[in-house]
Symmetry: C2
Subunit: 178 residues, 2 copies
DNA sequence: ATGATCATGTAATAAGTTACATGATTGT
DNA sequence: ACAATCATGTAACTTATTACATGATCAT
């Protein structure tokens, strides 16, 4: 059982989903392609951590809707208590910045500006999610309790938003220096 | 040529280093073990991007000090101009938080507090680097120019520091909610 | 004595990406 | 026409981790 497998169980604890949907929704926390997810789901099913129902569709291709079993839920609880792996970040930009003196001001500026565009798109996406969360939630977000199904989504969005804003501020700060 | 290979060249552009040192110094930007780095250095040497001198040592094991060739420096310049890959972050904690409602308050608190310890250690390490940078740099850090060899180090430390501080603030904020 | 740091390397495995494969619907 | 989205899966390949291997100093 690797981390991604537990990640899939973690998402399924909230909603029953297809492999395709899992692939889309796990992206902010863990980048993975469908080719990695489908085999893992088959493994999890064999272990009895998840089960699926085959749902035929006429307009779109048929799908398999996976759901978490009680065994899977217990595995999740055990996993949470185990020591958490250190976060891994691999950012090509940081490696480029380390030798940015090799190119001239304009070229250096462009490297940063391209990343800024990427961060701004992310910010928009996260802000959209934030609005959606507020809409389908009658309570005030900051009053949500631990047991509330929306709670952790809110907590994660808060982190993601703070981080992108920080990253954008850095882009701005460093551009002024170039 | 993968990103890590360019990363090694990027470090070597600043200082000539051994594989062991490269392994240590690339960690903040790109997590890689020595078993990945040594074979890549051999490849880079065959391509003529780096060269090395064998340095015998009496107390410690002998070492190979690698340095960047002009061919390697030119490869770096080309790489900087190519589109930059999106950053990849894989954080088990985020996946755990997504299903944190499965455990009780105290257990949830501990998950966050463990990560807080990790972030605080990082903060200390970065702050130490910051002091070191200030010591062997007669100019004021914020007046450093693009060509200054210390410039990008300062720019990267600034980002790393801001990020850890943000992450710690999030831990604090979320703990108050649990 | 036991583990940590320095220093290099290879072998085996696991994890992740890209490419191949199919096929309908919807929008430009 | 052409690309995008939905939906699943496998095969080939690259990348990254863990384990194996050696061996000297230094601190606890």
């Amino acid at each position: 059982m690797n981390t991604l497998s537990y990640g899939l169980l973690s998402l399924l604890n909230r909603n029953s989903r297809t492999g395709y949907e899992l692939m889309q929704h796990i992206q902010p926390f863990w980048q993975a392609k469908h080719s990695q997810i489908y085999p893992l789901l088959a493994q999890l099913e064999q272990k009895g951590h998840v089960q699926f129902v085959h749902v035929p569709q006429s307009d779109k291709p048929d799908k398999k809707v996976y759901s978490l079993t009680e065994l899977g839920r217990e595995a999740l609880r055990q996993w949470i208590l185990k020591p958490t792996d250190e976060p891994v970040t691999r950012d090509e930009l940081m490696l480029k910045v380390y030798c940015i003196g090799l190119v001239d001001r304009d070229q250096a500026r462009k490297v940063i500006e391209d990343r800024e565009v990427f961060y701004r798109q992310r910010l928009l996406k996260f802000e959209k999610s934030y609005e959606q969360l507020q809409q389908n939630c009658e309570k005030r977000l900051d009053e949500l309790g631990l047991q509330d199904p929306q709670f952790s989504h809110y907590v994660l969005l808060h982190k993601a938003l703070a981080r992108v804003k920080g990253d954008l501020a850095w882009c701005d700060w460093v551009k002024a220096k170039l």
